[in-house]
């Protein structure tokens, strides 16, 4: 049927006609049970255009691009490609037609080589040898160097993304979808990516660019379509908008601004790490090397860095999930704690919020009250003579709900039933309500909507104001700039010397995140001073 229509149409609207959009969705709808993930979305994408798709988590961005790439079938509505109605049987058909996609983080095979990964994304019509040769040529042409023989698990995040991009480019797509490509890149790596994207645009290709980094969108994109709750809210020219105006459209209201209370006093050191080194616990892990820092009460220390540079390992060493041979490497409230268990560290006044909400921060199928008990049993008076004080656990849930505006259907639902933002508010709230002396929190607002993110950041600031020491690991530099007093960068298991917030420019942090050292300059300064 499809092929038939195609043959009957003597003048398909080509790339250069300019008369009809390259890709068009009309009333595209995707329904999962009662839930409308996409509600009648119209979007036009023209050649030589970088089109941003904006929206909070759960707004329906992923569903829309999956439908365009043929990964899911729309429930209603249609997709037109060069003016012709198409029904994609799957991604391989999308690729054949000239639609390429660069996934955020889920389409590489760790134990296969670069060349094998690329081969899997192609139709397999050319021999492996020819393909490898073309791979090297394409990666050279676009300035995206890759060694085809290396296995993916050995590569950095930036290199992994290069594989995805080169793989998509090797199909010579007319239309390329990029799903949050800069989420895991250093600012410098992102700049290099923008050069590639501008070049692709100049070659006449169209790009659909999913991001929630508004400054980036303003800089790069010609058009922006904003989704909210599965519906299209607006299409605009992002260059004529401001970041706050775009954010308002995404959220559908004002976002509370995070305010750092003035006159915060730093007090005694509450968390000290002395020359902490730790071998990795798993095959592809990172070795921690000589990490030292001192964190005083009333202070927020931010740890920046590209994911996978030892942040998880550092969190495990601080929380007591992994023990250190030398007790003096981790000192909590003046007591050597490197050899102490998680519970013992909690009793010293420390609290921990891991990156992963479901499965690490909470047990997904357990109720919130039970999850409150899991971290509060040692030091929050919820257990008497070995019996659980159910009333006390419920009270914790109620207090967290009230204080941090956790929205949920029941008083005490299962953790997995909450949305990401609300669950994160609950987890952070649960720990803060214990009045910790030290709070170690990893990616506090990862994948959380803007409203909840503001609540969480404010809570961290308030906790520091109340005298606690707060350690925040985040990949979001804007977040760290907003709340941290000092920022250090992790790279290959090493931690840089912390920079004061006023000195921590994006450029400096970016250099550190890429493994460059600021030391020569700093040393010169020191001598000069």
């Amino acid at each position: 049927m499809q092929a038939h229509q195609r043959m009957l149409d003597p003048t398909p609207n080509g790339l250069h006609s300019g008369e009809s959009p390259l890709l068009q969705t009309l009333g595209l709808t995707k329904r999962y049970g009662d839930f409308l993930a996409n509600d009648s979305i119209d979007i036009d994408i023209w050649p030589k255009e970088i089109h941003a798709l904006l929206g909070e988590n759960g707004a329906g961005k992923s569903t829309l691009v999956k439908a365009i790439y043929g990964l899911i079938q729309p429930s209603a509505g249609e997709i037109r490609w060069q003016g012709e109605r198409i029904a994609l049987s799957g991604p391989s058909e999308a690729r054949t037609r000239g639609i390429g996609m660069v996934f955020q983080h889920f389409s590489l095979f760790d134990n296969l080589t670069v060349a094998e990964n690329v081969a899997l994304g192609l139709d397999g019509k050319e021999s492996f040898k020819d393909m490898s040769a073309r791979l090297e040529q394409v990666s050279k042409t676009y300035g995206l160097p890759l060694d085809p023989r290396r296995e993916v698990w050995q590569l950095s995040v930036g290199e992994r993304q290069r594989i995805e991009i080169v793989r998509a480019l090797m199909q010579d797509p007319k239309f390329l979808i990029l799903d949050e490509p800069t989420a895991v890149l250093t600012p410098q790596e992102a700049d290099q990516l923008f050069i590639v994207l501008e070049r692709l645009k100049a070659e006449g290709r169209a790009i659909l660019y999913i991001s929630h980094k508004l400054e980036e969108v303003k800089r790069l994109c010609d058009t922006a379509t904003i989704l909210r709750g599965g519906k299209k809210v607006d299409t605009c020219n992002p260059r004529l908008e401001t970041a706050p105006s775009l954010a308002r459209m995404m959220v559908g209201g004002e976002i509370k601004e995070v305010k750092a209370p003035a006159g915060r006093q730093t007090t005694v050191p509450r968390l000290v790490v002395n020359d902490l080194s730790l071998a990795p616990s798993e095959a592809h892990g990172v070795r921690l090397e000589h990490i030292s820092f001192e964190l005083k009460g009333g202070e927020i220390l931010g740890i920046a860095g590209v994911a996978g540079n030892g942040q998880d390992e550092l969190f495990a060493a601080l929380s007591g999930e992994r023990l250190s041979r030398d007790p003096g490497t981790v000192v909590i409230e003046g007591i050597a704690a490197g050899h102490l268990s998680i519970t013992q560290r909690r009793k010293l006044g420390a609290a921990f919020v891991p990156e992963e909400r479901l499965g690490h921060g909470t047990a997904p199928r357990m109720k919130l009250s039970e999850n409150a008990l899991l971290t509060g049993h040692a030091a929050s008076g919820m257990v008497h003579h070995g019996f659980i004080d159910t009333a006390a656990t419920l009270k914790t849930v109620d207090r967290a709900t009230e204080t941090f505006d956790v929205r949920k259907a029941k008083r005490d639902p299962e953790a997995a039933s909450l949305s990401g933002g609300n669950l994160q508010k609950f987890i952070v709230g649960r720990e803060i309500l214990r009045n910790p002396a030290v709070l170690v929190v990893s990616q506090p607002t990862w994948g959380v909507d803007a409203g909840a993110a503001a609540v969480i950041r404010q809570a961290l600031l308030d906790l520091a104001t109340a005298g606690a020491a707060v350690l925040v690991t985040s990949q979001d530099l804007d977040e760290l700039a907003e709340i941290a007093d000092r920022i250090a960068v992790m790279f290959h298991g090493r931690l840089s010397a912390p920079l004061a917030r006023s000195e921590a420019t994006r450029e400096k942090l970016g250099l550190l995140m890429g493994g460059s050292s600021l030391e020569p300059k700093e040393a010169a300064h020191a001598v000069g001073a």
Binding site: L71, S92, F106, S107, F109, D110, N111, L112, L120, A283
Partner: protein, 305 residues
């Protein structure tokens, strides 16, 4: 001289069913599916293989019966573990229990019957060479086939695009799906291949190893095959080493017991397991890096549509 030749022949005969069954399971596991029902598929293959050969008088048709029986068993597994996304460990264990019962039922009428076992190759001149003649040119068809099978599987996995796609499914089914590969269909084929191999390995026992059928005659060989796949870190080359080593130590310890070596027989019987574990652990210690198990092994995959 004659004794050495006899020992080598016995080693090959003891190793062949392990090699065939383990090769099938290796392909299944490389696609990301853990089928613990090898023992069950083997024993049904043994019963059906013997029935086929006894009824038709042809070893070849008997072997086909075994293959088809193993495949049908594996389809039951595929339906449950892939189609309905049931836990693979539980399904595999249930398949073994089912297989043991089913083989008793099918084979009940054949217990005590005998057939002419599979013919051995005879090439005038070559087969008569002392020591190596019968080893290289005087085996039955199963032995030659098993060697061709493992070489073919190696070539398939590492030299063909289809093999690459199969390995990709085992490494990361979400990615494979996102690239548009039919993960469940590929895995179903892999499971069926594993079933066919297990069925053939089972049929080898009454068709070539001993020319009669007794219930439970696989005697745990399916479990050994499963263990060999893991110890061989999912690599065909190491699988060959493991299978023949296991066979060799099994036969040697029998002879050693016959010679009256003063070691308790229970320890001697345990020796093949011990030797295989030690050698394969040493082999896998020498690996260069990267994880060895297929990353998606045993995990349930439900594509979203």
């Amino acid at each position: 001289m004659e004794l050495i030749e006899a020992i080598i022949l016995a080693v090959l005969a003891a190793s062949t069913p392990l090699l065939i069954a383990a090769t099938g399971e290796l392909v299944t596991e490389r696609s990301g599916v853990l089928n613990l029902g090898v023992e069950g598929m083997m024993i049904v293959g043994a019963a059906c293989g013997f029935a086929g050969a006894w009824l038709t008088g042809s070893i070849f048709i008997g072997a086909l019966f075994g293959i088809v029986a193993g495949m049908l068993m594996s389809l039951v597994f595929a339906l449950m573990a892939l189609g309905l996304a049931v836990n693979q460990v539980a399904t595999g264990l249930a398949l073994t229990i089912l297989g043991i019962g089913l083989s008793g039922l099918i084979g009940a009428g054949f217990v005590g019957e005998r057939i002419t076992p599979a013919a051995h190759l005879y090439v005038p001149g070559l087969t008569d060479i002392p020591l190596i003649g019968r080893v290289l040119f005087g085996e039955d068809g199963f032995v030659y086939f098993s060697v061709a099978l493992i070489v073919g599987v190696w070539w398939f996995l590492y030299r063909t695009r289809a093999g690459l796609i199969l390995r990709a499914c085992g490494d990361n089914h979400v990615s494979a799906h996102a690239l548009g590969y039919p993960v469940l269909r590929i895995r179903t084929f892999a499971v069926m291949f594993g079933g066919a191999c297990a069925g053939l390995a089972g049929a080898y026992l009454p068709l070539a190893y001993t020319p009669f059928f007794i219930p439970g005659m696989t005697a745990g060989r399916g479990w050994i095959a499963l263990a060999l796949v893991v110890f061989a870190s999912w690599r065909p080359g190491r699988l060959v080493v493991g299978a023949y080593l296991f066979g060799a130590v099994t036969i040697l310890q029998l002879h050693a017991q016959g010679w009256g070596v003063g070691i308790p027989s229970q320890f001697m019987s345990a020796l093949p397991y011990l030797a295989t574990v030690i050698v394969l652990v040493l082999l896998s210690r020498a690996r260069t890096g990267g994880s060895t198990a297929p990353a998606a092994l045993g995990t349930v995959f439900v594509p979203d549509r």
